[in-house]
Each structure stands twice: as structure tokens, then as C-alpha cells.
Amino acid sequence: MKALRSVVIAVYFAVAAMPLAWMAVTSFKHTRDTILAQPKYIPALSQSAPHSPLFQVSLEAYRKLNAPYAGTDRTYFNYLVNSVVIGLLSTVASVVLGTFCAYGFSRFRIPGGRDWLFFILSTRFLPPLAVIAPVLTMYRQFDLPNTHLGLVLLYTVFNLSLSVWLMKGFIDDIPRAYEEAALVDGYSRLRAFFLIIIPQASRGMAVTAVFCLIAALNEYGFAMTLNSYRAVTVPVYFAGLQKNIDGIPWPQVAAGVILFVVPVIVFTVLVRRHLLRGVTFGTVKQ
């Protein structure tokens, strides 16, 4: 049984890790080694015969990331910084606002509370790109295109409904008795919220943050439509590489992807303890 489980996990891991591994391998190739009929997948130090699976390792792709992007004075790393800054700010904003909002819905009787919650959920019913034209018009009124703030606002709003719903679930799971004990013990509701609820909800906040961060980093349509310079993000940079007159520089794409997903993987690994922790892990005896 245990062996079977190991096998299943190993096979699944191999399948799941394959694209990432291929990206990593590709990022160390020369462009010429990426467009062969017979793929090369074993790294080697020197050039080898056309039909051998060996390819020569090169850091050329990573070096190219540091070169200015066609027609601009910006490198991949400028775009990466944009993505990271916009992703983190919008994630923090969504999770913080979502947590406050969810706490209200979870703990207080709000007139029409269920309807409000449904309304919040309903903002996800339309594909976001359906509203791209009005958003662009509005943004122009406020000079928001080509700003980091514009994308932070947009991603925060899109992720907020997810954040509110996820956090409501997590906060509903925290027994009211915890904060009520704090209220009776002499604390204000706000203090009880920060001292008792926030630590208890941290696992849920980490989970929510992972979702929001990934959604924000992946977003392409708005990032492309609302920006032509300054706040352009990594997905738009990748799309731009396809217009390269020398053909798509696959090693460069792969190197960019690796650098792009590594922070997300690191973040997920850091919060994995929270992701895995049991749901009711308290001393309220139910």
C-alpha cells in the first residue's frame, strides 16, 4: 500500500514537474538547439553532433534578459520588478480588505448580508475582459493607464471577491468564543480582532494570498491594454518576444519564466505549513 502510494506520487510528480523541468533545461540552451526536429535534453559542456541528445550549456539566455528590450531602454528585470511590485501590492490590498470585510460578514448581522455577499460573488460572473473598454475609458479620465497604481487597483478589485469569500470561510471556522472571551477580558473589538482573529486567520490569509498573487501575476489582457510603457508586466513582455524578427527566442522565454515563477514557488513553500495545517486546530471543545 505504502509502495503504491509512493509510485503514484512519484508518477504524478514527474508529470507535474515536466513542463517546469523542460523550461529549466531550455533556459540553458542556445536558440539553435531549441528548434530542432530531434530534441536535445542532456546538458553538456561542448558542442556535439546534430543527432545526439546532448546540448551545450549556455547562460546566453539569462544574459539576454539583461539586455534592453527592442525599441526601449528596459530589460526583462524592469518588467519583473513591475510584476512583483504590482502583484505584491494588490495581493496585500486584497487580503487585508478581504479579511476586514469577511470579518464583518462573519460576525455581524448586516441587513441584506447574504445579498451583499452574493453581489460580491456576482462580480466574478462576467469574464473580466468584457469590461475592458469601459475600464479603459474610465482609466483615461483619471490618467491611470501606464501607472502601477492602475493595475494594483484593478487586480485588487478583481481579487477582492475571491478574498472575501475565502476569508469568510476561514473566519467562520474560528469560534466566536475566542474573541468574545477577549471582549469580556477587557479588550475592545478592534484589539480582539488583531490579537486573536488575525493570528488564527493567518493560515487562511496565506492561502488567499497565494491565489491572489498568482491571479495578479498571470493577468495579461488588462496589463497589455492599459499599458504601453512604465508599468508593463512580465506576461506582456513574453507576448512581445513573439514579434521578434529572428523568431521566438525560446531560451530567453524559458529563462524569464523560470525567474518569474521562482518567487511564487518560494512563497508557496514558505506558507506551506499554513496551507497544510488542519482546519480546527484549537482548544474550543466542540
Binding site: G186, R191, F281, K285
Partner: protein
């Protein structure tokens, strides 16, 4: 000081169509353990939460030491509430849990005072050796001691206890209830203790308030409430096994049960329609009517019989010396002075 410590009057609270509290009026003296006894859903918890300030009543008044407290925050009321489910903060040490109430804003205790208070509470509750343990690792009994410790550590004006012993096993429950009574006495702080357990109520209370469907049915000493319940509802809540309630009519000084004269009626209760006889108030011989024993429960010092008498199932507590087996016929003879009677 004059007047009761706590005065509750006209307290009403509805949740939708359900009246959890319906014009509740109780008071508690300066040094009293008042037990609120009632079945699940009677409104006991709502009453405590309203006194603690966690719930806002629709109507009514709560005064503590003569001062209205309804407009005060829970924090300002300075009462301690112990929850049925302990509600200690997980992943905190016992010490941190005990310190938490002392560190509340406005309490202004310095580090030394906090350490002293925690040490005092820990020694009173004999949990000093647990102080550095994570509360998650404690047993139920230990958790409840810590929860009580968190209540006493800040020396509140009043204790509110919401079925604090219900989640413990029977032995621990009995030990802790004795401890709790003497602890309260030594602290000389009034306590309202809510329970659905009649034995707990009888053993702990200075006075019992019987609550049912949001209404206070009777308030009195355990003796008064047990021996002179004002209604069948109160009578049913106290005593184990339950009181035997029998529909009767009265004719020629006799109570008629199931169409036949059963036994001598109490002369002051001729209009009664229901009588109640506690199981311990029967002799099992000497009665006029036979009864067939269906079930015999061995209790150690006594036996509980379930018998059919005048067409009614009745419980009788028989002495250990009476050798009765299922199927036997006995002649139950109720003690006429102990028969309770109500008009409805």
C-alpha cells in the same frame, strides 16, 4: 451596600420568532452562588451573554451595584465569563492565557503584579506545574482549570459560568463542582452558574432560578425549589429519576386515578388536577393497589424500580434491602405529606 448586587428586570431578547428571554427578572446577592437551571434552549446562555454584554437585549434593565450597565461594553462591565467549551487561545502557553486578561488596556498592571497574580491563580487552581505547557496539550479537566484561572486572575466583580463542567467526565465534574463552590466562597464574589444538570444545581446553589423557554418559573433555595415546585414544569426539572406526575380527580376526599379511587387526598388540594410524587416518597408495601415491576435498576445504595401502577408508569426508589425483581407485584404506598398537587 444595600440592595442586591445584580438586578435583572424585564429582560427580553428575541431571535426571529423565538423568544430566548421573556421578561426575565432575577437578582443575585453580594456573596451568592445563583444557579440558573433549565433545559437546552431555555435561554440560559443568552441570559449570561446579555449580562456579560455580548448580547444586546430588546428590552429590560440590568443593574450592577445599583448602576445600569446596559450601555457599557463587555470590557467595562468587569465580569468574568467561563464558556462551556473553555475557549482558551490555542498555541499559547497556559501562562500566556492567564496573563492575557491582565494585559488588557486600562488595567495598568506592571510586570511584577502580573507575575504575582498569575502565580496566585495557578496555586489556587493547582495548575502551577502546567504554566509553561501549550494549552492544546492539556486534558479537558486541566483546560477547564485554566479557563477558571483566566476568570479569577483579574479579580472581576462577578463570575458568569456557562455550563463549565458539562464537557468533563462525571468524576471530574463532581470534584470540580465542590472545588468551585469553595473557591467562590473564599473569593467572596457573586457567581451566576448556568447548567442543565439538576444534580449540579442542587449541590452547588445558594439559590436556584429555574428557566424554561425564556421565562423564570421559580427562584428559591434548592430545598424550596425541590420540595415546593410551583408548577409541574419546575417539578420535572429537579430530581433523578423524574418526579411521577399523575392526572387525578378528587372525589369524597380520595384521589381518583384511572377511574378508581387511589388514596387519601391532601385536604388542602381538593381542586388539584395533577399530583406529583417523588420516587423516594413511596413505601413499596402497604398500599391499596398492586403494581407490577417492569424494570429494576441497581444503583448501589438503592434500587430504582419502574412499575405500572393504576395504569401509570411510575418510578420508585426502593431501599437496597427490598428484594424486588422484574415481574414481582408490589403495593406502593405514597407518603401523603410528600404528595405535591397542582391545579394544572
Amino acid at each position: 451596600m444595600s440592595g442586591p448586587f445584580l438586578q435583572v428586570s424585564g429582560l427580553t431578547r428575541s431571535f426571529g420568532p423565538i423568544k430566548a428571554l421573556d421578561a426575565v427578572a432575577i437578582d443575585a446577592a453580594h456573596d451568592e452562588l445563583l444557579v440558573v437551571l433549565g433545559p437546552t434552549g431555555a435561554g440560559k446562555t443568552t441570559l449570561l451573554r446579555t449580562i456579560a454584554g455580548l448580547e444586546t437585549p430588546d428590552a429590560g434593565r440590568i443593574a450592577m451595584q445599583g448602576r445600569d450597565i446596559l450601555d457599557l461594553d463587555p470590557a467595562q462591565r468587569d465580569v468574568a465569563l467561563v464558556f462551556q467549551n473553555f475557549s482558551l487561545y490555542p498555541n499559547w502557553s497556559v501562562r500566556k492565557n492567564l496573563e492575557f486578561p491582565l494585559k488588557a488596556p486600562g488595567r495598568n498592571l506592571d510586570r511584577r503584579q502580573i507575575v504575582e497574580r498569575v502565580a496566585w491563580a495557578a496555586s489556587v487552581l493547582r495548575i502551577a506545574d502546567l504554566l509553561d505547557r501549550d494549552v492544546t496539550s492539556l486534558s479537558g479537566g486541566q483546560m477547564q482549570r485554566v479557563a477558571i484561572g483566566r476568570a479569577i486572575v483579574r479579580k472581576p466583580r462577578m463570575f458568569l459560568m456557562d455550563e463549565p463542567l458539562t464537557n468533563l467526565d462525571a468524576k471530574l465534574r463532581e470534584a470540580l463542582r465542590v472545588e468551585l463552590v469553595s473557591l467562590r466562597r473564599s473569593l467572596a464574589v457573586p457567581m451566576i452558574f448556568v447548567t442543565h444538570d439538576q444534580a449540579e444545581a442542587l449541590s452547588m446553589a445558594d439559590r436556584i432560578a429555574v428557566l424554561d423557554r425564556g421565562r423564570i418559573l421559580q427562584v428559591g433555595t434548592p430545598e424550596q425549589v425541590y420540595q415546593n415546585p410551583v408548577s409541574t414544569a419546575v417539578a420535572r426539572q429537579l430530581g433523578q429519576p423524574k418526579i411521577n406526575l399523575i392526572r387525578v380527580a378528587c372525589e369524597n376526599g380520595m384521589w381518583i386515578v384511572g377511574g378508581q379511587p387511589a388514596f387519601q387526598a391532601r385536604h388542602d388540594a381538593r381542586t388539584a388536577r395533577i399530583i406529583g410524587i417523588r420516587p423516594e416518597n413511596f413505601h413499596i408495601t402497604g398500599g391499596r393497589h398492586p403494581a407490577v415491576v417492569r424494570v429494576v435498576e441497581e444503583m448501589g445504595p438503592c434500587r430504582i424500580l419502574l412499575a405500572e401502577w393504576l395504569g401509570e408508569p411510575i418510578h420508585i426508589i426502593a431501599p437496597q434491602s427490598a428484594a424486588v425483581r422484574p415481574g414481582d407485584t408490589i403495593y406502593p404506598d405514597p407518603d401523603p405529606a410528600a404528595v405535591l398537587a397542582w391545579d394544572r
